[in-house]
């Protein structure tokens, strides 16, 4: 039903809005992560919380703070979920089961927001707004803090492995960036038709004499940060397809804008932090190229509608809303999987086979197109270091990035980073499809069944959180497996990133020599894009062939 003209125009409109906002927010972010001054309210809270915001932390201490904060978050959210029946605004729901509470606690603390449960049937308002929404803010803050630490590590010289202060980074991110933007966005969402109340489901008698329960909840406030922080956990089961979360084509574009805004702006901020705007521009270009490519492919797939069911129906409208149609659904799908958001406005399980394949490939890229808030930037920078190293091998140049030598120790950290997630994904999918308890969750057999399992483990290990929702994942097996994948997939890479940041901070900044590969030119953009695609391609092609590609060809 979508027409080509408007489909292109809405992508263009989105790109223009981003082009206007990204440099502004990028400059603000750079200031947030480099300014020595605290706001009065921040200083008061540091004193009250007894943390020292001016201690320049060694990367180990920084990592300990990240891990300690996240551990506290997991334990608190686990307890909150288990005890929700005894708390106000629970809507009469029981406490979460142990495996479910574990999965959800890890899911929201790792910025994944995988959901084994249906929001409207499992969790009360208080858990949503004071448990899940809080992690939406702070887990995004953790990712951005780590990216900022990495950027500072590259920018510094001779600093003994010190990369900044985690608490200051976290508090500033929440207070100066996430909260103000979320407030404005939430109000706009309510004005457009999203709900914001604390009511229990209300009974209405419908036009033809039936009964319908109208659900309520503090939805708009959660929706805003869910997109802005690339979290993705829906208030309701159907996430941003629900009219109360995403009522109009305008809110749809706003939500896509919000989920792309910070990942792109972080790249801009990176350029400013390392003192060379062109470096940020190069990283941003690679993100933009990968995102643009996936939008084009996914939109083509959904509008062309290949496959038996779309052919019979006359269009790929199964699992899509009329107000969005194929084009705005495809734009959302590619943006939510290219960032690590995982919110959905269409059901990805019902995407066309090539469309679902693109969504999966986006996540397999390691969430760098443009990636999660923070994780997108540090993921892309790890690939940039790898690219410099590979280019160095090819032409015999000294591998160095922004004046930092890429020696044996550095490249080992990068290699571990690049390998960590694929190992998790491929091991995870192998375990899932060889275990009875894993297979029991699949809705379909054959290639599409494999795709359901592959999508789930890819989504968890890459901290995306979207799903081929035909998978019944609310079982102890899937909850435990995916919880482990999310946890390892988040924190092993973060520790490796911080370790590398520390190595770089300790190094002296070398002036660029004749043998230095310039990392701000189009050639480097092409190389880095190629490395991102090839590394993923080589890793995942076999399993993609067995899943979405086999389905496309059937």
């Amino acid at each position: 039903m979508s027409a080509v003209g408007p489909a292109l125009a809405q992508v263009l409109l989105l790109a223009l809005a981003l082009a206007a906002a990204v440099p502004l927010l990028g400059r603000h972010l750079a200031h947030v992560y480099t300014s020595p001054r605290h706001l009065a309210v921040e200083r008061a809270s540091y004193r009250l919380l007894r943390v020292d915001p001016d201690a320049d932390q060694h990367w180990r201490a920084y990592a300990m703070s990240v891990l300690g904060f996240s551990l506290a978050g997991v334990l608190a959210l686990y307890g909150f979920g288990r005890l929700q029946a005894h708390l106000p605004l629970s809507l009469g729901f029981a406490g979460l089961p142990a495996d479910g509470a574990w999965n959800t606690a890890v899911s929201f603390v790792t910025n994944t927001n995988w959901q084994w449960y249906a929001g409207e049937a499992t969790v009360g308002h208080l858990f949503q707004m004071s448990g899940l929404t809080v992690q939406n803010f702070v887990s995004a803050g953790v990712g951005m803090a780590v990216a900022a630490a990495f950027a500072r590590g590259l920018a510094r010289s001779h600093r003994d492995g010190r990369v900044g202060n985690f608490w200051a980074d976290l508090v500033r991110t929440v207070v100066r960036v996430l909260l103000p933007i979320s407030l404005v966005a939430a109000v706009v969402l309510v004005l457009s038709g999203a709900v914001q109340n604390l009511l229990e489901p209300m009974t209405v008698h419908t036009l033809t004499g039936g009964v319908q329960q109208i659900t309520g909840g503090p939805v708009a406030s959660q929706e805003a940060i869910k997109e802005l922080g690339t979290n993705g956990g829906g208030f309701y089961n159907v996430n941003s397809a629900h009219p109360f979360e995403n009522p109009t084509p305008f809110t749809n574009l706003l939500e896509i804008f919000l989920l792309l805004l910070i990942p792109f702006a972080m790249a801009w901020a990176f350029g400013l932090i390392v003192g060379d705007r062109r470096q940020g521009g190069a990283v941003l270009s690679v993100m933009g190229v990968l995102w643009g490519g996936s939008v084009a492919l996914l939109t083509w797939a959904e509008m062309a509608g290949p496959g038996t069911a779309p052919g019979l129906a006359g269009g790929a409208m199964e699992g899509k809303e009329v107000r969005f149609g194929e084009a705005a659904s495809a734009l959302f799908a590619s943006s939510t999987t290219g960032t690590s958001t995982g919110a959905v406005n269409s059901m990805h399980d019902s995407l066309t086979a090539p469309g679902g394949g693109v969504a999966m490939f986006n996540m397999m890229l390691g969430e760098v197109a443009p990636g999660g808030v923070g994780s997108g930037l540090y993921g892309m920078l790890m690939l940039a270091v790898l690219t410099v190293f590979l280019a160095g091998l090819m032409v015999g140049r000294t591998p160095e990035y922004l004046g930092k030598k890429i020696g044996q120790h550095e490249i080992v950290l990068v290699a571990l980073y690049v390998l960590a997630t694929p190992v998790l994904v491929l091991t995870g999918v192998a375990v899932a499809v060889t275990a009875h308890a894993g297979l029991a969750g699949l809705q379909e057999s054959g290639p599409h069944g494999l795709s359901e399992a592959l999508y789930a483990v890819t989504s968890a290990a890459n901290n995306n959180g979207s799903a081929f929702a035909g998978l019944s994942s609310g079982t102890p097996f899937w909850n435990t497996l995916l919880g482990l994948l999310m946890l390892i997939g988040r924190f092993v890479p973060i520790v490796l990133v911080l370790a590398l940041a520390g190595r770089f901070a300790a190094q002296r900044q070398l002036p660029p020599g004749a043998g230095t590969l310039p990392t701000h030119r189009p050639l480097f953009v092409v190389l880095l894009t190629g490395v991102a695609v090839v590394v993923v391609g080589l890793t995942y092609v076999p399993v993609l062939v067995l899943g979405p590609i086999a389905e496309s060809l059937s």
Binding site: N197, L207, I214, K320
Partner: protein, 205 residues
């Protein structure tokens, strides 16, 4: 051992920060949005409910539904009214159990469902099966889709006109009045809100 102790120490600091964050973004922030919504957009914040006359209300007891949510059209009156899309939410349009079908493009179950819906809609509207548009034979993402395509509305105009005794032109005009074009000419798709349209049909007949 010192690492474990360090982690414990950092966790305690983390817990303090978490408590503060909960008060700020887990209580103050949603309540602030709640407050602004209650003043600036109470109707939307309560779910965009309407009465049988189409008037806005925040009182569920006098409402017939929400204009942003679809609802089942069934029973004696159904023949007079426009039908919504197929829904996979519970027994259909159940907000307590929102869902898409999640069936894949090659699913035999989905293929069979599409064939059956096409035949049923064609028989109900008295048209050729090939004329039935995609949204009439596919379940939405939310199971609560409030809209149908203008093509599906047009398909139902003759039946609704016959059943209600209204002139086809009159029904067509009601459809046009309740059709929203793409936002700013580019965003999303043209659509017809089924509840609003049906309220208008009932008011007119």
């Amino acid at each position: 051992m010192s690492d474990i102790y360090a982690l414990f120490r950092h966790s305690l600091a983390g817990l303090r920060v978490l408590v503060a964050a909960t008060l700020l973004v887990g209580v103050a922030y949603p309540l602030a949005v709640y407050g602004v919504a209650a003043v600036a957009a109470p109707w939307q914040a309560h779910g965009s409910l309407v009465t049988a006359t189409g008037a806005h209300t925040t009182d569920a007891s006098e409402a017939v539904g929400s204009v942003v949510l679809g609802q089942l059209v069934e029973g004696d009156l159904a023949g007079d009214l426009f039908r919504p899309r197929p829904s996979a939410a519970g027994d259909g349009y159940d907000p307590l159990s929102t869902s898409g079908s999640n069936l894949g493009p090659e699913s035999p179950e989905l293929v069979a469902a599409i064939r059956q819906r096409r035949a049923e809609v064609a028989a109900r509207e008295g048209v050729e099966p090939a004329q039935v548009p995609p949204d009439a034979v596919t379940a939405s993402a939310s199971g609560l889709d409030p809209d149908i395509s203008p093509a599906y509305a047009e398909l139902q105009v003759p039946r609704v006109a016959r059943a209600t005794g209204l002139a086809e032109e009159q029904v067509r005009r009601l459809v046009a009045e309740h059709t929203s074009d793409r936002t700013w000419g580019v965003l999303g798709e043209p659509r017809v809100d089924v509840l609003e349209l049906n309220l208008a049909v009932l008011a007119g007949s």
